[in-house]
């Protein structure tokens, strides 16, 4: 399959262009070149899915004229409502009702119908259909539901450039597009990039000096290895997984009281640092409690399925919410791990993918056997965890679960999974409504993805976990490899990382994705190895400079002809200013903390009930913990983080937006945390050294992670001197300027110098490059 796909890629760019018809590309005229061989998967199916499947697709409950176009046999069959007619006659477009209708100008005859608001097919799309039918109208199975195959890395003309297999795949496509790779990024930027990617923290000055001074062949690889061994790697990886697992510190519905789910988060950090293979990482989280050797660590991992919201509103119907929680578990599993939009089949058969409503509830049935109840009472009787729960004593934390950073000696309780002894029956719920049970179903995984062979797999969560991480499963490895690629490059090989189905985007590098997925599984689902493999590639090491030509040909950098340049995630922006100023409290794990937050935000929205009605800000070291430890109250997630596109943790998310709003500038200019970091860094520098230029250079290095250019230094020094003059002339108030944050002021320093340097540093923090991986 893969070779054919590559052959089709030339036309794929035409399709991409089509999506951007607003750009005035050739697509608009419909005259661009058709592919040599029209592919069902790459050319036809995306159009069918988008324009036809809604009424002629997998949803049996809503199928017009009895016509189904997602399956070859039905599409070739005689039409039920047009005597003697056929939707598709291979080889004969003019005899094919489908082609006649998509090209018709008669509003009563044309497809899609004007009432559907789906829009007519473009001239180019019509020509694609014509050629496809002429070539035999051949259907293919959906790429993502076919097991990946490891193909030989393609040959390339520039044989000197590739460093590993990844580069062969990437370069082959670049060469096809007339693009060539960039040179390697300079060492300073490369170090910043790997440090941010692996640990989420900027490199220290010591690391910079060491790396710049090491001219050996292995310098880069050694640094990658060193960073992968740091415990901050686990923290960085946890941020992504906390989005997938919709982790939060409160129960989420209106009254929104506190909960204790953070020991699960500490386990995630620990698991990544221990490099727990991904298949086990998933198995434990889905069914750790059911493993033959289930210990408390494995049971704790199942907190994954319990992180969702719980209502504590008075007067709810418990069953309504018990079902709601199952829907959430099903969604998190299918979107986060399988990369499919299973939730669309909750109320009816899926419109685009071959998932029936029965498939949906058969999948949900795996989670339906938990001891969880729908309602344990309102906020007045709220507890830190809901049944079934895991109790962890101080003794257990000291002997076995050392990764849990409890603050006191008390017993901890965490919501986890636990099975009922007598299985609970599961029914299809008509229209997805909790009190409308229909046909009874047995637990089974999604057939269209891979058969759930009951001679191999038990009909329970453990069976589901085993099915999920089976080597033959076409999705699990691809989806995770793609998520990691997305985290590193800012864009997945499959852009729609949460939808590998019919409506999802096609992979930009299908063979590479498959190669990586198979290689990942063959090497024991080793996450650190995969990470290193990507970071050692020449593709990754390219400079981020984009020429006008590159931007014109490939504005999204789909073909990776330059290095990634992406804005840091919300948590990592906070980490950046804390780490570079020296304020960062290095402690790992423990209960979430409450740093500075604008006054009154929790108070303005609360019902007044529960312990989170009032925001009680922390002090001391707890003000300076990494972003992932900031307390997430679901009804009012930290506003500064939300403005930088953090997940609100309401649902499973596999991808964050990267938007640009003026509110972000306001945060960087005025947030007390950034101002405090500027002041603390200034006083640390001034403590050792009074020379303004030297201090500006050091501050710049610590924040931007490279030496400033002469011009940059000049601009900053001018600003510093201007500020000194203003303070001296009493036009500005130095004493007031430095009054920010709780970290003590160094009173031995000259206030005007401190204030001027602080403001210069604050300017550096506001540079685009400060919060950008370059």
């Amino acid at each position: 399959m893969s070779l054919r796909l590559v052959a089709c890629l030339f036309s794929l760019i035409a399709l991409v262009g089509l999506g951007l018809s607003c750009m005035g590309d050739a697509a608009a005229t419909g005259q661009e070149k058709l592919p040599e061989k029209v592919s069902y998967n790459f050319h036809i199916r995306p159009i069918l899915s988008d324009k036809c499947f809604k009424c002629h697709g997998p949803d049996g409950g809503h199928r017009e004229a009895g016509l189904r176009l997602d399956i070859a046999d039905s599409a070739y069959a005689p039409l039920k409502e047009t005597k003697g007619g056929f939707a598709l006659v291979p080889g004969k477009p003019d005899a094919s009702e489908l082609y006649k209708r998509i090209t018709s100008t008669d509003t009563g005859y044309v497809m899609p119908t004007p009432e559907s608001h789906l829009g007519a097919l473009t001239a180019f799309e019509q020509r694609l259909f014509k050629k496809w039918i002429e070539q035999g109208a051949r259907y293919e199975s959906h790429w993502a539901f076919t097991a990946p195959v490891k193909s030989k890395p393609p040959a390339v003309s520039d044989i000197k450039w590739p460093r590993n297999e990844i580069d062969h795949f990437v370069l082959a496509q670049m060469e096809e597009k007339g693009l060539s790779p960039n040179e390697e990024a300079d060492k300073e930027r490369l170090l910043k990039r790997i440090s941010l990617d692996i640990t989420g923290l900027p490199p220290t000055v010591e690391m910079m000096d060491r790396f710049l001074g090491d001219n050996s062949e292995q310098a880069y690889e050694k640094m990658v290895d060193e960073l992968l061994q740091k415990p901050q790697y686990g923290e960085r990886m946890a941020v992504h997984w906390m989005d997938v697992a919709r982790y939060a510190d409160s129960y989420g519905y209106q009254d929104d009281n506190i909960r204790t789910q953070w020991p699960w988060r500490d386990w995630v950090i620990h698991a990544f640092n221990n490099n727990l293979p991904y298949d086990q990482f998933i198995t434990w989280q889905l069914a750790g409690d059911m493993l033959p050797n289930a210990d408390k660590e494995k049971i704790l991992a199942t907190g994954f399925l319990r992180n969702h919201k719980y209502t504590e509103e008075g007067g709810v119907v418990p069953e309504e919410y018990r079902i709601e929680y199952l829907l959430d578990k099903t969604k998190t599993y299918s979107k986060g791990i399988l990369g499919i939009t299973m939730e669309c089949a909750q109320c009816h058969d899926h419109k685009y993918d071959p998932f029936s409503q029965k498939d949906y509830f058969s999948l949900l049935a795996f989670f339906n056997n938990t001891k969880e109840v729908g309602y344990e009472g309102d906020v007045s009787v709220s507890k830190p965890a809901k049944n079934p729960l895991l109790s962890i004593t101080k003794d257990e934390r000291e002997k076995m679960l050392q990764f849990i950073q409890a603050r006191d000696t008390g017993m901890l309780t965490v919501s986890v999974m636990g099975e009922l002894e007598k299985p609970r029956k599961t029914f299809v719920l008509n229209r997805g409504v909790y009190d409308q049970p229909g046909e009874e179903v047995q637990p089974a995984a999604v057939r269209a993805v891979m058969k759930f062979d009951t001679t191999h797999y038990e009909r329970n969560r453990l069976g589901l976990a085993r099915w999920t991480v089976a080597k033959e499963n076409p999705l699990t490895a691809r989806v995770f490899v793609n998520q990691l690629w997305q985290e590193i490059f800012g864009r997945g090989l499959v852009k729609t990382s949460g939808d590998f189905g019919m409506q999802g985007e096609l992979p930009s590098h299908p063979e590479l994705l498959d190669w990586l997925a198979v290689d990942f599984m063959e090497n024991g689902w080793n996450i650190k190895r995969l990470f290193k493999q990507i970071l050692l590639s020449a593709t990754y090491r390219q400079s981020a400079k984009a020429t006008e030509k590159k931007i014109r040909i490939d504005p999204e950098n789909i073909y990776l002809s330059h290095g990634p340049r992406t804005r840091l995630g919300a948590e990592f922006i906070r980490d950046m200013y804390l780490a570079s100023s020296g304020l960062l409290a290095p402690e790992i794990g423990g209960p979430s903390v409450k740093p500075y937050q604008p006054k009154g935000i929790w108070e303005a929205t609360t019902s007044g009930r529960g312990v989170l009605a009032v925001y009680r800000q922390d002090h001391g070291d707890d003000l300076y913990r990494r972003g992932l430890y900031t307390f997430i109250k679901l009804t009012v997630p930290p506003p500064g983080m939300i403005m930088f596109d953090a997940s609100n943790r309401d649902q499973c998310e596999v991808k964050r937006l990267k938007t640009n709003t003026p509110l972000q500038a306001l945060i960087m200019m005025n947030e007390p945390g950034v101002l405090e970091a500027s002041r603390v860094l200034a006083q640390r520098l001034l403590h050792d050294q009074k020379d303004a230029s030297a201090n500006i250079r050091t501050a710049f290095r610590r924040i931007i992670c490279r030496k400033p250019t002469a011009n940059e230094e000049k601009i900053l020094l001018e600003y510093y001197q201007e500020q000194i003059a203003l303070f001296e002339a009493k036009k500005l108030d130095a004493a007031k300027t430095i009054k920010v944050g709780e970290y003590p002021v160094d009173n031995t320093l000259d206030t005007k110098q401190l204030a001027a340097l602080m403001k210069t540093i604050s300017t550096i923090y506001n540079l685009e490059e400060a919060i950008t991986k370059t």
Binding site: Q503, A546, T605, T635, N660, I715, T737, K739, T763
Partner: protein, 482 residues
């Protein structure tokens, strides 16, 4: 439609636009870059707006006065003398028809009907019933359309609120304001298209949550931005005390020069966008306090809204602020006022709630009208569901509580193409709708229609599906439109 393509490729658009522009960056003063307005999503406005609105709008802006917690329609607008006659007698099973109740009253042995403690009178051309609790509202009655036949599917606050605001009871869907921001953009380059104002009464409160004004899967420029009157109108807007405007300008000039260095090296259009982002923030720092400063409002205006309007964070202050934001082109101003959840001691609580809100709600109508803005501003007043005709807890002559009731409730709308009057009807018990039911989806469809948008065409493709505010249902209620 093309809009979703545009939106989903927003960042590329921005890149392309800025690339063409960036080539000449050196020659242009950095502070005056003609980059598209960021509050409309950073997309070339002319291209975006092609095809939108779908037809001539009746309203340009919306102010939604959300009465959070669910006010009792039976004590305010839906007058039912039958309940007084049958006070204390059980709700007939033939009326209840086995419909589900919340867990708070499902186990009650009896469902005694509770007549309203308050007196009702008829007002205006439509002879609309309004209780003595709302004297100010009664004065503007001829501008209002009472929809007495609203109904919803949820019976608990959280899902019901979420349904009203996002068109779905659960999930992380974009809220109404975000959809309008997405569809129509902002009229003011210095203010967000979607602003949120919060206040609380003393009645039994139900919290609000930022998910109600979320952008969901839309670009986060469409997220509701919380505003308040007083010294700190928008989070992080104010410079630190020791930094004045001139000083901020000095910093921004240096910052732009430095970012420009970086732009020269990388050619990344996002850097040019960042320069513009700071300029926009700077403009907001001037524009926002000008709008949110209520202290310079003339005496007659203060009198009209009531003295509370000078206290930041009150409902009255928020109504006045809503007018100012709307007048300055904010597309959607969403207010929330808590405290309407009258499970017990309802008469006492609702009296307080009305004292806090009645005058200012009516003043807003009058004020918009006298400025000639009511015709183009749609004002909506209402909660997330209604309250039961039977008593929750102990019933006496002058005290009772009412549980949640999704089967029927009253909202009112005014201005922006709305036909004043009374629409829909409930049965003599105020339990079921007998005439012209309006579902939440119908309400959304109608509101979008008034704004010139076809609710079936305002879509956004996310994870393979074209989402709408109205999900898969909703009909425009034509009879509500003037």
């Amino acid at each position: 439609m093309e809009k979703e393509h545009l939106e989903s490729h927003l960042s590329i658009n921005r890149r392309r636009f800025l690339t063409s522009l960036g080539m000449g960056l050196g020659g242009v003063a950095l502070g005056s870059l003609l980059v598209p307005d960021m509050f409309s999503g950073g997309v070339d406005e002319e291209t975006v707006m092609a095809g939108l609105p779908h037809f001539a709008p009746r309203a340009k802006r919306i102010i939604y006065l959300f009465q959070n917690g669910a006010p009792s329609q039976l004590d305010l607008f839906d007058y039912k003398p039958m309940l007084e006659t049958m006070h204390g007698q059980d709700l007939p099973a033939s009326i209840r028809m086995g419909q589900r109740l919340t867990g708070m009253t499902a186990n009650q042995a009896r469902f005694p009907l509770a007549g309203s403690y308050f007196k009702f009178n008829q007002y205006g051309q439509a002879r609309a019933w309004i209780s003595e609790l709302m004297p100010h509202t009664a004065r503007v009655v001829d501008d209002l359309c009472f929809v007495k036949s609203m109904y919803t599917e949820a019976i608990n606050h959280d899902p019901a609120l979420t349904f009203f605001q996002t068109g779905a009871q659960v999930g992380n869907r974009p809220s109404m304001g975000a959809w309008l921001s997405y569809g129509l953009g902002s009229e003011n380059k210095n203010l967000p298209a979607f602003c949120v104002l919060l206040s609380k009464g003393k009645g039994n409160g139900q919290g609000v949550y930022s998910k109600l004004w979320t952008n969901g899967f839309l670009d986060s420029v469409h997220q509701g931005v919380q505003f308040s009157s007083g010294d700190n109108p928008v989070l992080y807007l104010n410079n630190p005390e020791a930094i004045d405007k001139a000083d901020r300008r000095r910093m921004l000039d240096k910052l732009a020069a430095l970012n420009h260095e970086s732009y020269k090296e990388f050619g990344d259009p996002e850097i040019a966008a960042k320069i513009q982002q700071y300029e926009m923030a700077y403009r907001m720092q001037t524009a926002v306090p000008e709008v949110t400063d209520l202290s310079r409002e003339p005496e007659d205006i203060v009198k009209m809204y009531g003295p509370d309007c000078l206290t930041p964070g009150t409902y009255a202050a928020n109504c006045l602020l809503a007018r100012k934001l709307s007048e300055n082109g904010v597309r959607f101003v969403q207010l929330y006022h808590q405290g309407w959840d009258g499970h017990d001691s309802l008469p006492g609580q609702i009296k307080g709630q009305c004292l806090d809100t009645d005058q200012a709600s009516a003043a807003l109508i009058t004020d918009l009208k006298q400025r000639g803005l009511l015709d183009e501003t749609l004002v909506i007043w209402g909660g997330e569901f209604g309250r039961t005709n039977y008593c929750q807890g102990v019933l006496t002559r002058d005290n009772y509580g009412r549980d949640h009731h999704p089967r029927c409730f009253t909202i009112w709308m005014a201005g922006g193409g709305i036909k004043p009057g009374v629409y829909g009807e409930t049965d003599d018990f105020g339990y079921n709708i007998v005439n012209n039911p309006v579902h939440v989806h119908d309400f959304h469809a109608t509101v979008l229609h008034l704004m010139g948008l076809n609710h079936e065409q305002l879509t956004y493709k996310h994870l393979g599906r074209r989402y709408r505010l109205t999900d898969v249902a909703g009909n425009v209620v034509k009879d509500l439109i003037a």
